[in-house]
């Protein structure tokens, strides 16, 4: 029997474009990073434990917030096994580049700032050695002891010029809102190393950080999730009104995991107030929404669902998604946003901005190696 070599149209292999995922949580387990700590802290931990504050709330999924299907074959913690991450997520999802955001930010809530600095360095060294150096697709985030700007700057200088460390990361829970001049030396270092400054929800109300909301501590996990934008909103207003983007015009700040669409009416409100109250903060030279467009990026996950597609389109426009939005999966967390299912169908150009170009420009990542994309 003769076999025909020509393929029928439906058999033609469809090329699929690769993506950049700006939020992948590799497991930066304290036990893993312990060997990267100086002797004094290793001995202290043996004698008195980790003395780090933990979460106040429940989480979703299993294993404290993880996708139930993300446990590696060896039974380890989700996000701890690079091979399994490749197999379960990076390869099938056509991830060209993934930004690692780690899993433990508790060092940013301890009052012992030298310990926080040692833990930060250990996490960064572990991430470089065990993750970034093992898969060219993966890029690291520099965790810093943000309680102390001087030590934070030291850490940024120590690892900030490594080409695969692509941003500085902090928890949203912070002693002062991030526009405060207390933090400005950190921004100077970020600008010097061309590193975005990313604020990731976490550690609100924990350790030395202020309560989960300005109204006090909320009680439950879904309630905490609902109020995360309050803290992020305070950071955003603070960055604008403290004049951070006039002082550091090239600084890029990423608002990660506090939601997306709430920012639209928030920007409208700030713009309207600026018309009325400009003279009280005359160093704010432009409408707040203009700083948002030039200096802020927003992570997509967890993306809100709108009652209808038309409203979704309008909200995307209202947050300038084509300029500001970064696709984030949050893998392997339970509230993972699938690269194929989380968004309704997007116009091709907008999809390309969100799933590749915005992140490529932000992190200085190259174009796709294969311009036609990977094979579906």
């Amino acid at each position: 029997m003769e076999v025909t070599e020509s393929k029928k149209p439906e058999e033609i292999v469809k090329k699929k474009r690769t993506i950049i995922d700006s939020d992948i949580h590799n497991y930066t387990s304290l036990d893993e990073i312990k060997k990267y700590l100086p002797r004094v802290y290793r001995e202290q931990i043996d004698l008195w434990g980790w003395r780090l504050p933990g979460s106040l709330y429940l989480n979703g999924g299993t294993n404290v917030g993880q996708r139930a299907d993300s446990i590696p074959p060896d039974g380890g913690f989700p996000g701890s096994d690079l091979d399994f991450m490749r197999m379960q997520y990076l390869d099938p999802s056509h991830v060209e580049y993934g930004i690692l955001t780690g899993s433990d930010y508790s060092c940013q809530a301890t009052p012992d700032i030298d310990y926080a600095a040692a833990l930060s360095s250990a996490i960064n060294d572990y991430t470089l050695e065990q993750w970034v150096n093992k898969d060219h697709r993966l890029k690291g985030s520099i965790i810093i002891p943000k309680q102390d700007p001087r030590l934070s700057v030291q850490e940024i200088h120590r690892v900030g010029s490594h080409p695969d460390m692509v941003q500085v990361i902090v928890a949203s829970g912070a002693e002062k809102p991030y526009g405060n001049r207390f933090y400005h030396p950190i921004y100077e270092a970020c600008v010097e190393h061309n590193l975005p400054f990313t604020i990731h929800v976490l550690m609100e109300g924990v350790g030395i950080n202020p309560p989960t909301t300005g109204a006090g501590y909320v009680s439950y996990y879904p309630e905490y999730r609902a109020t995360r934008p309050q803290v992020m909103a305070a950071h955003l207003a603070s960055l604008i009104y403290e004049g951070v983007f006039e002082k550091f015009p090239t600084l890029q700040v990423v608002l990660q995991e506090a939601g997306v669409f709430w920012m639209a009416p928030y920007l409208w409100k700030m713009d309207e107030d600026w018309k009325s109250l400009r003279f009280q903060t005359p160093w704010v030279k432009k409408k707040p929404s203009e700083y948002f467009r030039s200096n802020i990026k927003v992570s997509s996950q967890p993306l809100e669902k709108t009652p209808n597609p038309e409203m979704f389109r309008q909200m995307m426009k209202a947050v300038y998604a084509d300029e500001t939005l970064l696709y984030c999966s949050d893998y392997p967390h339970w509230d993972f946003d699938s690269p194929v299912m989380a968004f309704p169908k997007l116009e091709d150009e907008l999809w390309e901005r969100i799933f590749y170009q915005n992140a490529a420009e932000l992190y200085g990542l190259p174009a796709r190696k294969d311009p036609t994309g990977g094979i579906d």
Partner: protein
């Protein structure tokens, strides 16, 4: 074009203003360093009597904590939402597309002292 008598120059010293009704329109006439300017007494935002707001300077800044007063007496802040307008042109400072109408003002002097000169606004 009709001319409307506002008053004697002595009624509006430097840095002061007078609000008059001309042909049914409320108009604010300002003396800025000896020159007279007139704008409609209506804010384009929500219709407040613009010229009843405070007359002040444009506050500029080189950075947080720094305040520089420029263009003294050339700015009116609406009494309601504090939008700032340029008295010389009627344009809103931060969004010049928004404006209140401005009018020509002349000072007529017929063999009298400066103080007795007559101010007219032209509608």
């Amino acid at each position: 074009m009709t001319s409307f008598f506002v008053g004697k120059a002595s009624e509006i010293p430097e840095g002061e203003k007078k609000i008059v009704v001309a042909n049914g329109r409320s108009i604010g006439v300002y003396n800025i360093e000896g020159q007279f300017f007139a704008i409609r007494n209506t804010c384009p935002h929500q219709g407040a009597a613009l010229c009843t707001g405070i007359t002040t300077a444009f506050i500029n800044s080189s950075g947080p904590g720094n305040f520089v007063h420029e263009r003294e007496g050339e700015i009116v802040r609406c009494p309601w939402h504090q939008w700032e307008f340029d008295i010389k042109t009627g344009h809103m400072i931060v969004d010049p597309k928004k404006r209140t109408k401005s009018y020509d003002v002349t000072v007529e002097r017929f063999d009298v002292s400066v103080e007795e000169s007559e101010i007219y606004v032209h509608l």
